[in-house]
């Protein structure tokens, strides 16, 4: 009876919604909390329910199926509700907490970096902390739906300050398929996992998604395009930028392999190194600012462990070293694009 598994065409955010719904059905200890994860809290008596569904609409409809006991709208108090999620995870629940934008982690960073990340280790392994933090990140002015983007405090990437903390797992899905699979894997993981959801991919990344629950393993990168001349290593939306660049490079006669990093911590060094061992060149493409970034971390690891395979210096293509500017013309200069990736590859292939 291995008929073709039923699939549906879903957006990235719809796929995450599907993951949450399936896991909440499967496991009554899974709860969802955050600002406006439903919306119109307490207004059911006026016929107003589920007004919002989160900034990317990833939690829409959950309150209708699971009720306000398990789908909790919170006040604007990130430190308080992330802390409550930590306490709930210590005492038998599997909370999935949403921080509307990663730019807001400053409001709850202690609960993430001092509490959630370290609990299991610091307490000698005596308790699990099955906590999921979902958060939206990234620039979006390039959509040109507004004159500019969301500027310096609503467009950041910031995953390096999460991946830096031992004990946190950080995943960056890129497609509807892996968004669902990584979300389910994160919910089932016994420790804290941060899911970085790019604002643009939320609605734009569409694809076939199996109806049933499945996991995409945390801690594994994926080769998403085979090539022989150079490895392009992409994170989040930058994987799509790498694929676009690879297509253009192919027309110029350069065969680029694309590795989708998918998990920043723990990083799958083996897959990246294996690719570099075949292509002998590496360009890492990261939407984050360069200092102390994942791009430079990956470059350093490959330099350390794969130096003998390299025929050229490692290149990084990152955001500019400045806050995210508002005007579309400036934001387009800020974030990496396919043309900059091609230019970096040309420098390596001479």
């Amino acid at each position: 009876m291995s008929a073709v598994a039923a699939t549906r065409e879903l957006t990235f955010s719809q796929a995450i919604n599907d993951a949450l719904r399936l896991e909440m059905r499967r496991d009554p200890s899974v709860i969802v909390m955050g600002e406006d994860v439903a919306g119109a809290a307490g207004r059911a008596h006026l016929g107003l329910v589920d007004a919002w569904g989160g900034p990317l609409r990833a939690t829409v409809g959950l309150i209708t199926e699971f009720g306000p006991q398990r789908v909790l709208d919170t006040p604007i108090s990130e430190m308080g509700f992330v802390g409550a999620a930590v306490g709930a995870a210590m005492t038998g629940l599997r909370p999935v907490v949403e921080i509307m934008f990663v730019d807001l982690i400053g409001c709850c960073y202690d609960q993430i970096m001092n509490q959630a990340a370290k609990m299991h280790y610091m307490m000698g392994g005596q308790l699990d902390l099955p906590l999921v933090i979902r958060t939206a990140y990234g620039t979006h002015g390039f959509k040109r739906t507004y004159g500019g983007g969301a500027a310096a405090q609503h467009s950041q990437t910031l995953y390096s300050v999460l991946a830096h903390i031992p004990g946190l797992k950080v995943v960056v899905p890129t497609t509807a398929y892996n968004a669902k699979g990584l979300t389910i894997a994160a919910i089932r993981d016994p420790g804290p996992v941060v899911i970085m959801e790019h604002k643009f991919l939320g609605g734009a990344a569409k694809g076939p998604v199996p109806d049933e629950a499945y996991t995409v393993p945390i801690g594994r990168a994926e080769v998403v395009r085979r090539g022989t001349d150079v490895t392009l290593c992409g994170i989040g939306r930058m994987t799509h930028v790498c694929l676009e660049a690879a297509e253009a490079l192919a027309a110029e006669g350069t065969s680029a392999e694309v590795v989708d990093v998918l998990t920043l911590a723990p990083l799958d060094e083996a897959t990246i190194l294996e690719s570099v061992s075949r292509t002998h060149r590496l360009v890492v493409v990261d939407e984050d600012t360069p200092t102390a970034s994942m791009a430079r971390d990956i470059a350093a690891r490959v330099a350390d462990q794969g130096f003998d395979w390299l025929d050229a210096p490692i290149k990084t293509v990152t955001a500019a070293e400045c806050p995210v500017p508002f005007a579309a013309v400036l934001e387009n200069l800020y974030a990496p694009n396919a043309e900059r990736v091609r230019a970096a590859v040309r420098e390596l292939t001479g």
């Binding site: 709860i31 006040p75 802390g83 930590v86 306490g87 210590m90 610091m122 392994g125 016994p190």
Partner: protein
């Protein structure tokens, strides 16, 4: 919404067994730390410790009103909370020694002692940060369909932390069974409460979160027990959170090695010690007809417990090098 009144207060009557338990447990906290001070003086490397001495009536009075299945979230000054909630002093001491047999297998030290089996969610040295954990434990209790309650201990210094206010607001809007216990010992490190807190009573702040708030004499274990017992009863019945401010005093500096006389007067310390919670409570029990021998027997048992705890800690092995990288991540559960 009209604030819910406190449940009608019946005169609390702790039974004989509980009265004795409180005496012996307060003595155990005191004994633990007196031994610890001698270890520090001997140069045993027990790491940074924050002595709870002087405040024993608070931890014990609160925990005497709890069940073993209830939860507490502690502060940086957590030895008293641990012992009152039932953490075994042998692994506690071993933890301070950095031994593999410690509560946290030598990876936490004094500032992170945790034993979830007895509902102790952790000593927490980031001031105020344990309070939302108690809110989460209470939320968890409700989602899991139990009548467990959770206590958030915090100091009067933490009362100025935003997270404590966020935690109180969350507990109130969700009507969660949380008891916020503020241990007002007068000093946040070297900063006096009257300078740092814009309130006459920290308990006054309860009104801002639509919960009852009371201030009690934190040197009187029975007063602490009585207030907690009422708040716990209310919480278990679905009445939501409460705030109890306990006025108390720490006898020593902020941590070992801190000379408190740089920021407070010797007369004040002397006056506080005259109201020593253990001595006062012993006098109350004797006046109630308890025999001195019964109380002394508890003191003796506590000394024996600490003899055993120190022997256990000293004989225990240090963690192996494999422990360095163990438990960074929890064990993966597939499927």
């Amino acid at each position: 919404m009209i604030p819910r009144p406190m449940a009608p207060q019946l005169p609390p009557t702790p039974d004989r067994e509980l009265l004795l338990w409180m005496y012996e447990r307060m003595g155990l906290v005191r004994e633990f730390e007196e031994r610890l001070r001698t270890l520090v003086e001997r140069g045993v490397p027990v790491g940074p410790v924050h002595f709870y001495t002087g405040q024993e009536a608070v931890a014990v009075g609160v925990c005497a009103a709890l069940r073993s299945t209830d939860w507490i979230a502690s502060t940086h000054r957590g030895h008293g909370h641990c012992i009152a909630k039932g953490v075994d002093v042998r692994p506690m001491m071993a933890e301070l020694y950095g031994k593999a047999t410690g509560t946290n297998r030598g990876k936490g030290g004094s500032m992170h002692i945790t034993d979830t089996r007895v509902g102790m969610l952790g000593v927490n040295p980031i001031v105020g940060m344990g309070t939302p954990h108690a809110v989460g434990a209470a939320l968890s209790a409700r989602v899991r369909g139990t009548d467990e309650v959770a206590v958030a201990f915090f100091g009067e210094g933490a009362a100025s932390m935003g997270v404590v206010h966020e935690a109180m607001n969350l507990a109130s809007i969700w009507t969660l069974p949380v008891i916020f216990v503020c241990e007002n010992n007068g000093y946040a490190q070297a900063t006096p409460v009257e300078y740092a807190v814009a309130a006459d009573r920290i308990a006054d702040r309860a009104a801002a979160y639509r919960m009852p708030g009371v201030t009690v004499d934190g040197q009187d274990v029975l007063a602490v027990w009585e207030a907690t017992e009422a708040a716990v009863r209310r919480a278990r019945a679905g009445g939501g959170p409460s705030l109890i401010e306990c006025l108390t005093y720490r006898y020593y500096g902020h941590h070992q090695g801190d000379n408190a006389l740089r920021y407070r007067l010797a007369e004040e310390e002397r006056a506080a010690r005259e109201r020593d919670c253990l001595r006062c409570y012993r006098a109350v029990l004797l006046a109630q007809g308890f025999e001195a021998a019964a109380l002394d027997a508890g003191d003796t048992r506590n000394r024996e417990r600490l003899d055993a705890a120190i022997a256990f800690a000293e004989a225990s092995p240090v963690p192996g090098p494999e422990e360095l990288l163990a438990d960074v991540y929890a064990e993966e559960v597939h499927g």
